[in-house]
Symmetry: C2
Amino acid sequence: MMIFLVQVKVMPLKELLDPQGKAVLGGLQNLGLDKIRDVRIGKHISLDVEADSADQAKKIAEEAGKKLLANPVMEYFEISVN
Amino acid sequence: MMIFLVQVKVMPLKELLDPQGKAVLGGLQNLGLDKIRDVRIGKHISLDVEADSADQAKKIAEEAGKKLLANPVMEYFEISVN
Protein backbone atom coordinates (compact mmCIF):
# COMPACT_ATOMS: atom_id res chain seq x y z
CA MET A 1 0.00 0.00 0.00
CA MET A 2 1.15 3.50 -0.81
CA ILE A 3 -0.26 6.94 -0.12
CA PHE A 4 -1.26 8.81 -3.28
CA LEU A 5 -1.97 12.53 -3.30
CA VAL A 6 -5.15 13.01 -5.31
CA GLN A 7 -6.42 16.41 -6.42
CA VAL A 8 -10.14 16.93 -6.94
CA LYS A 9 -11.32 20.09 -8.66
CA VAL A 10 -15.03 20.81 -8.13
CA MET A 11 -16.43 23.60 -10.30
CA PRO A 12 -19.87 25.09 -10.96
CA LEU A 13 -21.40 23.62 -14.14
CA LYS A 14 -20.49 25.71 -17.18
CA GLU A 15 -24.14 26.40 -18.02
CA LEU A 16 -24.79 27.90 -14.58
CA LEU A 17 -24.12 31.42 -13.44
CA ASP A 18 -21.44 31.71 -10.77
CA PRO A 19 -22.40 34.71 -8.60
CA GLN A 20 -19.31 34.35 -6.39
CA GLY A 21 -17.10 34.45 -9.48
CA LYS A 22 -18.95 37.51 -10.80
CA ALA A 23 -18.46 39.28 -7.45
CA VAL A 24 -14.73 38.56 -7.50
CA LEU A 25 -14.52 39.71 -11.13
CA GLY A 26 -16.03 43.03 -10.06
CA GLY A 27 -13.55 43.29 -7.20
CA LEU A 28 -10.61 42.64 -9.52
CA GLN A 29 -11.81 45.29 -11.94
CA ASN A 30 -12.12 47.79 -9.10
CA LEU A 31 -8.49 47.02 -8.26
CA GLY A 32 -7.48 47.88 -11.84
CA LEU A 33 -7.04 44.28 -13.00
CA ASP A 34 -9.16 44.91 -16.07
CA LYS A 35 -7.45 42.29 -18.26
CA ILE A 36 -9.26 39.56 -16.35
CA ARG A 37 -12.40 38.87 -18.37
CA ASP A 38 -14.09 36.12 -16.40
CA VAL A 39 -13.79 34.37 -13.05
CA ARG A 40 -15.30 31.09 -11.94
CA ILE A 41 -14.84 29.78 -8.42
CA GLY A 42 -15.02 26.22 -7.20
CA LYS A 43 -13.35 24.01 -4.64
CA HIS A 44 -9.97 22.36 -4.68
CA ILE A 45 -9.82 19.25 -2.52
CA SER A 46 -6.59 17.37 -1.79
CA LEU A 47 -6.97 13.78 -0.66
CA ASP A 48 -4.33 11.44 0.79
CA VAL A 49 -5.49 8.04 -0.44
CA GLU A 50 -4.02 4.70 0.58
CA ALA A 51 -4.06 2.38 -2.43
CA ASP A 52 -2.05 -0.21 -4.35
CA SER A 53 -1.89 1.85 -7.53
CA ALA A 54 -2.62 5.31 -8.89
CA ASP A 55 -5.59 3.81 -10.75
CA GLN A 56 -7.08 2.46 -7.56
CA ALA A 57 -6.51 5.78 -5.79
CA LYS A 58 -8.31 7.55 -8.63
CA LYS A 59 -11.28 5.17 -8.34
CA ILE A 60 -11.56 5.83 -4.60
CA ALA A 61 -11.46 9.59 -5.24
CA GLU A 62 -14.14 9.23 -7.93
CA GLU A 63 -16.38 7.46 -5.45
CA ALA A 64 -15.75 10.25 -2.91
CA GLY A 65 -16.58 12.84 -5.58
CA LYS A 66 -19.86 11.17 -6.47
CA LYS A 67 -20.94 10.40 -2.90
CA LEU A 68 -19.93 13.56 -1.07
CA LEU A 69 -17.55 16.10 -2.61
CA ALA A 70 -19.62 17.39 -5.53
CA ASN A 71 -23.29 18.15 -5.94
CA PRO A 72 -24.06 16.96 -9.51
CA VAL A 73 -27.05 19.31 -9.82
CA MET A 74 -24.71 22.31 -9.68
CA GLU A 75 -21.14 21.05 -9.98
CA TYR A 76 -18.81 18.78 -11.93
CA PHE A 77 -15.50 17.41 -10.74
CA GLU A 78 -12.16 16.42 -12.24
CA ILE A 79 -9.54 14.20 -10.64
CA SER A 80 -5.79 14.05 -11.05
CA VAL A 81 -3.37 11.78 -9.22
CA ASN A 82 0.17 12.99 -8.47
CA MET B 1 -3.97 39.81 -27.50
CA MET B 2 -5.15 36.33 -26.64
CA ILE B 3 -7.29 34.93 -23.87
CA PHE B 4 -5.42 32.58 -21.55
CA LEU B 5 -7.18 30.28 -19.14
CA VAL B 6 -5.36 30.56 -15.83
CA GLN B 7 -5.98 28.22 -12.89
CA VAL B 8 -5.38 29.48 -9.36
CA LYS B 9 -5.37 26.97 -6.52
CA VAL B 10 -5.81 28.59 -3.08
CA MET B 11 -5.18 26.24 -0.15
CA PRO B 12 -5.00 26.59 3.64
CA LEU B 13 -1.38 26.87 4.80
CA LYS B 14 0.07 23.45 5.58
CA GLU B 15 0.82 24.38 9.19
CA LEU B 16 -2.82 25.29 9.86
CA LEU B 17 -5.63 22.97 10.78
CA ASP B 18 -8.35 22.73 8.17
CA PRO B 19 -11.61 22.12 10.04
CA GLN B 20 -13.66 21.89 6.83
CA GLY B 21 -11.29 19.20 5.53
CA LYS B 22 -11.51 17.32 8.82
CA ALA B 23 -15.32 17.41 8.67
CA VAL B 24 -15.32 16.04 5.12
CA LEU B 25 -12.80 13.34 6.15
CA GLY B 26 -15.23 12.25 8.86
CA GLY B 27 -18.09 12.20 6.35
CA LEU B 28 -16.09 10.06 3.92
CA GLN B 29 -15.21 7.60 6.66
CA ASN B 30 -18.88 7.35 7.64
CA LEU B 31 -19.60 6.47 4.00
CA GLY B 32 -17.09 3.62 4.18
CA LEU B 33 -14.32 5.41 2.27
CA ASP B 34 -11.76 4.52 4.94
CA LYS B 35 -8.76 4.49 2.57
CA ILE B 36 -8.84 8.28 2.48
CA ARG B 37 -6.42 9.37 5.18
CA ASP B 38 -6.53 13.13 4.97
CA VAL B 39 -8.54 15.87 3.28
CA ARG B 40 -7.69 19.51 2.78
CA ILE B 41 -10.08 21.93 1.15
CA GLY B 42 -9.32 25.16 -0.63
CA LYS B 43 -10.58 27.13 -3.59
CA HIS B 44 -10.07 26.59 -7.27
CA ILE B 45 -10.38 29.79 -9.28
CA SER B 46 -10.40 29.86 -13.09
CA LEU B 47 -9.52 33.18 -14.71
CA ASP B 48 -9.89 34.21 -18.36
CA VAL B 49 -7.00 36.64 -18.80
CA GLU B 50 -6.37 38.79 -21.86
CA ALA B 51 -2.62 39.00 -22.44
CA ASP B 52 0.11 38.91 -25.08
CA SER B 53 1.79 35.82 -23.65
CA ALA B 54 1.30 33.06 -21.11
CA ASP B 55 3.97 34.72 -18.96
CA GLN B 56 2.08 38.01 -18.91
CA ALA B 57 -1.18 36.18 -18.09
CA LYS B 58 0.57 34.46 -15.19
CA LYS B 59 1.85 37.79 -13.86
CA ILE B 60 -1.66 39.27 -13.94
CA ALA B 61 -3.01 36.22 -12.09
CA GLU B 62 -0.23 36.53 -9.50
CA GLU B 63 -1.23 40.12 -8.88
CA ALA B 64 -4.87 39.02 -8.51
CA GLY B 65 -3.81 36.30 -6.07
CA LYS B 66 -1.85 38.73 -3.92
CA LYS B 67 -4.39 41.54 -4.00
CA LEU B 68 -7.66 39.66 -3.66
CA LEU B 69 -7.89 35.90 -4.18
CA ALA B 70 -5.80 34.61 -1.27
CA ASN B 71 -5.43 35.71 2.33
CA PRO B 72 -1.70 35.22 3.06
CA VAL B 73 -2.30 34.89 6.80
CA MET B 74 -4.18 31.64 6.21
CA GLU B 75 -3.67 30.61 2.60
CA TYR B 76 -1.11 30.11 -0.16
CA PHE B 77 -1.79 30.00 -3.87
CA GLU B 78 -0.37 28.29 -6.94
CA ILE B 79 -0.91 29.33 -10.54
CA SER B 80 -0.89 27.35 -13.77
CA VAL B 81 -1.58 28.64 -17.26
CA ASN B 82 -3.21 26.36 -19.85
